[in-house]
């Protein structure tokens, strides 16, 4: 074994690296703080405007969490997630119109969306990069056209849900106070974030990130690339469908533009990317900020064509693309690094101590 021991001592004699990553106390603290804030939000901001922002932010945070599994962690950028959102909206609408509880529709909605995901993935995953993204736009447009055409989903007039007794089982509450809706969607958000976390932290998560970084290298270490892409799109679709299921209970109405328009797909993708693609925090941050901007501009600077929020969107996308491709999460990380350096809080907190690192991007 002499030669091998030589190897371990051969490279430049630097201080030994930590044997394992330290326990993430800071992250746990952050998690607890955010959870408290989210739970307290309706009491802190009781206005109708704030409630609306909260419910919509969390709805789209759920949708973006689904998108993030495929677009962020697996690196397959989709502009067709309205298909899954719409699948959730329509499935739940049809269940409720046939006298069943919306909760019972959640499982079939997820299964149908996962099935759509596989159907889309089988042909589209033959394409890579931008070509895949373009194909997903086409899929979304097909879904929109089909929904307008088919009368059993209400055609272009859409479906209106019946008003039921207000109860958790019926997922209908007083629309004057959205607090109950808020807590329901907060619960759904917690569940899907936990599911994402469990998916991302283990073997499956490492495999999809390997695919994102380099699919040829991933195959060379034994990753069945196609299978893992299909798993990712199925799970991604199922989660986004749940956002749709909730959305239709809150709106009590679904028609093709509100469910399947390209704008819905872009909204979902934008929220994930703006917040931070490939980070579990991304959808939450993106959801709150984008929905807030959107609601604020449409209330305060309302005009018939609503061009202001589109302008702001465009500016935001440009800023993100130029300044920080990993979104708000990236900006916050950068701020933390800055603070750490400035005040040398736990000098070794950032694992990549620049010994041989040439430049770590900052």
């Amino acid at each position: 074994m002499a030669t091998m021991e030589d190897q371990t001592s051969a490279p430049v004699g630097v201080a030994t690296a930590p044997a394992r990553a330290p326990f993430p106390y800071r992250r746990m603290f952050l998690l607890a703080a955010v959870a408290v804030l989210l739970v307290a939000y309706p009491s802190l901001f009781p206005s109708g405007f704030a409630q609306n922002v909260g419910v919509n932010a969390l709805t789209f945070a759920v949708a973006a969490t689904g998108w993030n599994l495929l677009g962020g962690f697996t690196g397959q950028v989709s502009f067709g997630h309205a298909v899954f959102f719409g699948a959730g909206m329509y499935t739940t609408a049809l269940f409720v119109m046939n006298g069943m509880s919306p909760w019972l529709s959640m499982l079939p909605a997820a299964v149908i969306a996962a099935g759509f995901g596989l159907l889309i993935g089988l042909p589209c995953f033959r394409l890579r990069g931008h070509y895949f993204s373009i194909a997903t736009i086409a899929v979304g447009e097909i879904a929109l056209t089909v929904a307008i055409d088919r009368s059993w989903v209400g055609g272009s007039e859409g479906l209106t849900l019946p008003l039921l007794d207000e109860s958790l089982w019926n997922l209908q509450f007083s629309l004057r106070d959205l607090t109950q809706y808020y807590y329901v969607i907060l619960g759904i958000f917690a569940v899907v974030t936990l599911v994402s976390f469990l998916f991302v932290r283990g073997k499956a998560g490492r495999y999809v990130r390997a695919i994102r970084d380099d699919d040829r290298a991933a195959a060379a270490i034994g990753v069945p690339v196609r299978r893992y892409k299909l798993i990712a799109v199925a799970l991604s679709g199922a989660i986004t469908a749940w956002a749709g299921s909730f959305q239709v209970m809150h709106a009590l109405f679904v028609d093709p533009p509100s469910a399947l328009d390209l704008a819905v797909s872009i909204q979902i993708a934008l929220i994930a990317v703006f917040g931070g693609a490939g980070s579990l925090w991304g959808p939450l941050l993106g959801g709150w900020s984008i929905i807030f901007i959107q609601s604020y501009t449409s209330v305060h600077w309302a005009s018939p064509g609503r061009p202001i929020d589109l302008l702001i969107y465009g500016a935001l996308i440009t800023v993100i693309a130029v300044v920080e491709p990993s979104g708000l999460v990236g900006l916050l990380r950068r701020a933390r690094r800055f603070v750490n350096r400035r005040f040398s809080v736990r000098g070794t907190a950032t694992p990549a101590t620049p010994v041989t690192v040439v430049g770590d991007g900052s």
Binding site: T3, M4, D214, A218, A219, G222
Partner: protein, 254 residues
């Protein structure tokens, strides 16, 4: 240490010839009118290091890709571990025990060195803890421990090549395909890398290496296959190769 391995290997052999891990027969790959690899036949004995050399464009990397399942042969047969595996896919090859590196480095850039290795170790170990144990071993063995928590993107070329070897090793392969892991390194780095390759081989891993640095090939390989324009022009020991007329012609021109 290698003697015990050799004894063990010899004991397993029942036939008089040593067992072949890889056998390639009449392997051909055409791209339209171009024949990149033309009816190449050779075999690799268990526990040895085979050098695959030849001028640029000789078809070495294409041959590698076919063995590793990344490209499909137009004709011919590949046998791995006694089983016909012609036309398998890359992940099947990896699962069966073929590890490889890439000529142009392909590390998982957003991950740390350790994560790269853990991901590779998942091929044989489902759980994170077990995969991590393998990754830590590989880290030690390849001298990657002090950069274990650096992001792979930020590594030097030499470290990336070492990480590629480590990643292949973390899949616990029987056969390792090394595509120019020594080119472009400084003499010191190249020397270290040579010792690493030797160490891996001493553990009983069979190796096929594409290499340009002749000194290395001479010191590591007991057996050489020389390709030129897709055809095998020589097979034998390195000291015979350097006097072979066809080989000299291919390298130096007539």
């Amino acid at each position: 240490m290698s003697s015990s391995d050799t004894v063990a290997a010899a004991a397993v052999d029942e036939t008089d010839t040593a067992r072949n891990v890889l056998e390639v027969e009449g392997l051909t790959r055409r791209f339209g009118g171009l024949v990149a690899v033309n009816e190449v036949t050779f075999s690799v004995q268990q526990g040895t290091i085979l050098g695959l050399i030849g001028p640029n464009g000789a078809g070495k990397s294409t041959l590698f890709s076919m063995v590793a399942g990344e490209q499909q042969p137009s004709e011919g047969v590949i046998r791995f571990d006694g089983r016909v595996v012609t036309g398998w896919s890359a992940h099947q090859a990896a699962a069966a025990g073929v590890g490889r590196t890439f000529q142009l480095m392909r590390v998982f850039g957003s991950m740390t060195v350790m994560e790269n290795l853990v991901t590779a170790a998942h091929l044989r170990h489902r759980g994170t803890r077990a995969a991590r144990r393998v990754a830590e071993q590989v880290c030690e063995e390849l001298g990657l421990a002090d950069i274990a928590y650096h992001q792979a993107d930020s590594l030097t070329a030499a470290s990336k090549k070492r990480l590629e070897m480590g990643r292949a090793l973390a899949t616990e392969p029987k056969l390792l395909l090394l595509d120019e892991v020594l080119s472009g390194l400084t003499p010191t780095e190249a020397h270290e890398a040579t010792e690493i390759v030797r160490g891996i081989n001493n553990r009983g891993v069979t190796i096929v290496m594409v290499e340009h640095v002749m000194e290395v090939v001479m010191s590591l390989c007991r057996h050489l296959v020389v390709l030129d324009f897709g055809q095998k022009i020589f097979e034998g020991t390195p000291d015979v190769a350097v006097h072979d007329e066809a080989v000299l012609e291919a390298y130096l021109g007539s």
